[in-house]
């Protein structure tokens, strides 16, 4: 991809980098081997709503950091806030001390201080992003895109190359959001079931949910009731457009830089190819929609036709959307489709997976699976036509803690235990299993280039994702970070481990491991398991990855839903390299 191919729209170019005052929407670009970034703050207005922003170089999102594979970079970050800050380079492989997590990798950047991230020659290319790892600054606008150009020719060739960074704006202070979540379950949910709703829930279903003290409408914790969803910092009415000439191939680097939102991304009427996931090339998959979890990235290639096409990024709970337009000439628009009906949690999301359409034996990890209790003669049924599928729920124990392994701490922080946490990497995501078109799933992802570590994992481990909706507690293995801050998850250097994430909650969690890529055990051949830095674990289900722990140091490991992390769903992964251990060839090294 040539530099000229990055045809940024006019509003994203050439503005004052350090202008005080109001924070701008959209981003500039910084590149080269020495980059300077300044963390500041200021008022921000989105579609007439006012808020307070923490922003880098005066814009939200902050500048696109354009790097080059094989080249080192020094990034000097100056903090002008009156509190500590940081920049985490999400998805970059680098020495842990420059990973940017205060309290794990470095002390943080004090007010008035400039910290230099001295990053050696990059070992990767692709689409990534950066954001604050201090407090809740990310919610306030402290994030931006990263594009690492390949050292050779890009496997993906396109006429236009655009970044689409999805995020949220709220006039609320992030601490206020945290406070409301702690105090009032469903505070932001104005799609709850009521006497007058249109949900296809029978009276029996409603009583069952009430009996469990859960809400079938608990799809996202923070919703469009406070968020305006943003495309490159622009609200849906603020007209973000990407220009194209008919016949051109457009590459969109889609980054979910939100704090709390999964998006369903589609371009109504247009099929497109997914060519990259979390910055790694994948064999192109043709789809019409995909769900992107917080902190994930997908690269797509689309050949738009007609005068204009609308890119819709609908929040998973369908309480709002971010909108952009592929326009063949400035100002060209097509209709924006209305929000679809909000989805409901289903049996599968409670960890009872026998009744829903595709019994899913995927993930390659069928170890110890006992088929003796599974009826294999179930008729195919619409997965969500009736969310409860007539199951008799009476007498079912939604919190059978005897199902948990002994290392999970049972206590008030666990309000549910998945009864049958099957692999759900074949799921398109909440609310998308009944749409009439092809939706991407993790099982569609196949690495384009072969992986370099084909060893069979020497051990496996399960990590349970645990929580309590009512108390808004979130944790791994029943322990908040406060309980395990001195007890990290340890891997031996260069150890290859199969990690199964078991979701004992009814929320989807995007789990992110810093400093590494892991391979989804998604059914792709062993040498083509797709590499990711963030994996969604569907409610009540599991997801499995193989990890080669070849990046020494301490690394953050957490749910990337900001308020889940802030509530305790955070751990440190320690990869200890004894001095005697030889260096191994790592990802991206020759």
């Amino acid at each position: 991809m040539g530099a000229g191919a990055m045809a940024l729209p006019a509003w994203a170019r050439g503005a004052n980098l350090h202008g005080g005052g109001t924070i701008r929407a959209g981003f500039d670009e910084v590149s080269g081997r020495n980059i300077a970034l300044t963390i500041g703050e200021g008022p921000r207005v989105v579609q007439g709503r006012r808020g307070h922003a923490v922003a880098l170089n005066g814009s939200v999102p902050g500048p696109l950091v354009r790097l080059r594979e094989g080249e080192p970079v020094r990034i000097a970050v100056t903090n002008t806030l009156d509190e500590d800050s940081s920049v985490h380079w999400h998805g970059l492989l680098l020495p842990f001390q420059y990973d940017g997590v205060p309290g794990v990798s470095f002390p943080g950047i004090k007010p008035g201080e400039t910290f230099v991230y001295d990053i050696p020659a990059l070992r990767q290319h692709g689409t990534y992003w950066w954001h604050s790892h201090s407090g809740l600054q990310e919610q306030a606008g402290h994030y931006g895109p990263i594009v690492v150009e390949p050292s050779g020719m890009d496997a993906v060739q396109a006429d236009r190359d655009y970044v689409l960074l999805l995020s949220e704006f709220t006039p609320l202070h992030p601490h206020t959001i945290m406070d409301k979540l702690k105090k009032g379950e469903g505070y932001f949910n104005y799609q709850q079931n009521t006497w007058t709703d249109d949900y296809s829930l029978s009276g029996e279903d409603r009583r069952m949910w009430a009996r469990m003290r859960m809400m079938a409408t608990d799809i996202l914790d923070v919703t469009g009731s406070t968020y305006t969803y943003l495309a490159n910092g622009r609200g849906p009415e603020e007209g973000l457009e990407y220009l194209f000439n008919p016949g051109e191939r457009v590459r969109l680097r889609i980054i979910n830089g939100s704090a709390m939102t999964f998006f369903n991304v589609r371009i109504p009427g247009v099929k497109f190819w997914v060519v990259g996931a979390d910055g790694q090339n994948v064999r192109p998959v043709e789809v019409e929609e995909f769900q992107i979890g917080t902190a994930e990235t997908y690269d797509i290639v689309v050949e738009p036709t007609g005068e204009a096409r609308t890119i819709v990024a609908e929040s998973m709970d369908r309480s709002g959307m971010a909108v952009a337009t592929l326009a063949s000439c400035p100002g060209a628009r097509t209709a924006v489709p209305p929000l679809r009906d909000p989805p409901l949690l289903t049996m599968a999301d409670m960890g009872m997976n026998h009744g829903s359409g595709g019994m899913d034996h995927g993930g390659g990890d069928m170890a110890g699976m006992d088929h003796s209790v599974m009826g294999h003669h179930m008729p195919a049924q619409g997965a969500t036509a009736d969310p409860m599928a007539g199951m008799d729920m009476s007498g079912m124990n939604m919190r059978d803690t005897s199902l948990l392994p002994p290392n999970v701490k049972v206590g008030p922080g666990i309000d549910m235990v998945s009864m049958n946490p099957v692999d759900r990497m074949g799921d398109p995501g909440l609310g998308l299993d009944d749409v009439p078109h092809k939706v991407l799933t993790y099982k569609d992802l196949v690495a384009l280039e072969p992986n370099d570590d084909l060893r069979r994992p020497s051990r496996s481990m399960d990590i349970h994702l645990t929580g309590n909706m009512e108390r808004y507690m979130w944790s791994f293995d029943g322990r908040k970070f406060t309980a395990v801050s001195d007890d990290p998850i340890r891997f031996a250097y260069n150890e290859r481990v199969r990690v199964k994430l078991v979701n004992d909650t009814m929320m989807a969690h995007p789990i992110h491991l810093h400093g590494h890529f892991f391979e989804l055990v998604n059914g792709a051949p062993a040498d083509r398991q797709p590499q990711k830095h963030t994996v969604i674990v569907q409610p009540g289900g599991s997801a499995t990855f193989d990890l080669t722990a070849d990046e020494q140091g301490d690394w953050a490991f957490h749910c990337h839903l900001l308020y889940h992390m802030h509530s305790g769903m955070f751990q440190i992964v320690t990869v200890a390299k004894p001095p005697s251990a030889p260096d191994v060839k790592r990802v991206g090294e020759d």
Binding site: T196, V301, D365, S372, M374, P412, D486, R528, H566
Partner: protein, 411 residues
């Protein structure tokens, strides 16, 4: 171009890649109107790479789906190493392996196929296994790696069927707290940020104050007022909890007023155990020890139940329950019940042993915002048993109907 050519070759050389085997029962569905080569060509086009004309000419390669397994000879299959796999009852009678050119079961460690009927399947010397009618309709084999199996002489002898063992990290993973950054930045430099990290990720405390009922009560014999507030400060599991409630008639001194200070500890996902002190502020002032539970019962009933032991030795109890019924997203109907009990007669308080009083209320509130919701409602109070007699003796009506208007708020 070298890369492009390499990718094209790589693509065509690995035909069965992400092939979805979920449709075993319907081989026709996979029958390629589009050959794998053509699919690959489409992918190459998707990435922007030119695909030469005729790259997928019929002679270039045979589509994998065309390979017939009808005469698959399993006589070379050696299952002797399949330690854990139990196929004793596997029913493969409807399985069509016609689309499975290359099977590798290496990831299926520890699979228990106890109920799958494999009747007739023998380990060796077996005539071609008939997989023609096997029905795996709901089974998703997407995760099986079928990429490396050799059609001709299937040798399962090398298959590693053992599950990957669960286990702790090896000793070389080290031990102790995570302190890698100390070696770079120094322990002193790291300390403050480490403390902050712990506080920020799960260590927060919350202050909450709620006016559950703050209302004007219209009734026969003089309108009155009532407050019922509570709040807490603390962490997820341990909180200081305070409560106050009282009522009276305008123009008179309050009929009752009390305040409680409680330590509250989570004893389950939905329940807190509360213990502390209650001070009565009216009438014969008394102090009580309090032991209770507060939380959310099945069917979403908010429950607050407590026993009180006074400094006079009197034992009483109170159980309150509320249920929010959403009519719309903001209009909420809230039935409420309260029962007061006593272990003994307390004549100076007008309380009789047993059931003392019962209150049933119904309030309709509108949440302008979650934190602020005015309401109207009605509440019926009955004195019961001996307490009713005490009330009658005092010239009071043991049964009172209140028409209430008030506000529910929290912050």
């Amino acid at each position: 171009m070298r890369l492009i050519v390499a990718m094209l070759l790589a693509g065509t050389a690995t035909p069965a890649f992400a092939q979805d085997h979920s449709g075993h029962a319907i081989p026709a569905a996979q029958s390629p109107a589009q050959t794998e080569c053509e699919k690959e060509a489409a992918r190459q086009t998707a990435m922007g790479h030119p695909v030469p004309e005729g790259a997928c000419a019929p002679t270039a390669q045979s589509a994998p789906g065309d390979e017939s397994h009808a005469g698959m000879d399993h006589s070379q299959m050696d299952h002797s190493q399949m330690e854990v796999m139990d196929h004793s009852a596997m029913d493969h009678s409807a399985m069509d392996h016609g689309q499975m050119p290359a099977m590798d079961h290496s990831d299926m460690g520890g699979m228990d196929h106890a109920t799958m009927g494999h009747e007739g399947m023998q380990s060796s010397g077996q005539a071609p296994l008939d997989h023609q009618a096997m029905d795996h309709g709901e089974m998703d084999h997407g995760a099986m790696d079928h990429g490396t199996m050799d059609d001709g002489a299937m040798d399962h002898g090398t298959m590693d069927m053992a599950p990957i063992p669960q286990g702790p990290p090896p000793a070389s993973a080290g031990f102790g707290p995570p302190r890698a950054a100390d070696a770079i930045w120094g322990a002193d430099a790291m300390r403050a940020s480490r403390d902050a990290l712990r506080a920020e990720n799960g260590g927060m405390s919350v202050f909450w104050f709620q006016g559950d009922r703050a209302e004007y009560r219209a009734r026969e014999g003089g309108d009155g007022y009532l407050w019922d507030v509570q709040g807490y400060y603390g962490s997820d599991l341990d909180k200081f909890w305070f409560k106050s409630e009282g009522e009276g008639t305008f123009g008179e001194s309050p009929e009752s007023a009390e305040i409680q200070g409680l330590w509250s500890h989570a004893i389950g996902p939905w329940w807190d155990l509360q213990a502390g002190v209650r001070q009565d502020l009216t009438g014969p002032e008394r102090t009580h020890a309090v032991l209770g539970v507060q939380g959310l019962a099945p069917y979403m009933f908010e429950v607050d139940a407590a026993a009180f032991l006074s400094t006079k030795g009197d034992l009483t109890a109170r159980v309150e329950s509320e249920l929010d019924q959403r009519i719309t997203q903001r209009l909420i109907l809230q039935p409420r019940a309260e029962v007061n009990l006593s272990a003994q007669d307390i004549p100076e308080l007008g309380v009789g042993a047993g059931l003392d009083s019962v209150e049933l209320g119904l309030r309709l509130r509108y949440e302008y915002v979650r934190e602020f919701a005015p309401y109207v409602g009605v509440e019926q109070e009955w004195k019961v048993g001996q307490s009713a007699d005490y009330a009658s003796l005092a010239g009071e009506d043991p049964s009172v109907t209140n028409y209430v208007v008030g506000v529910r708020f929290w912050f």
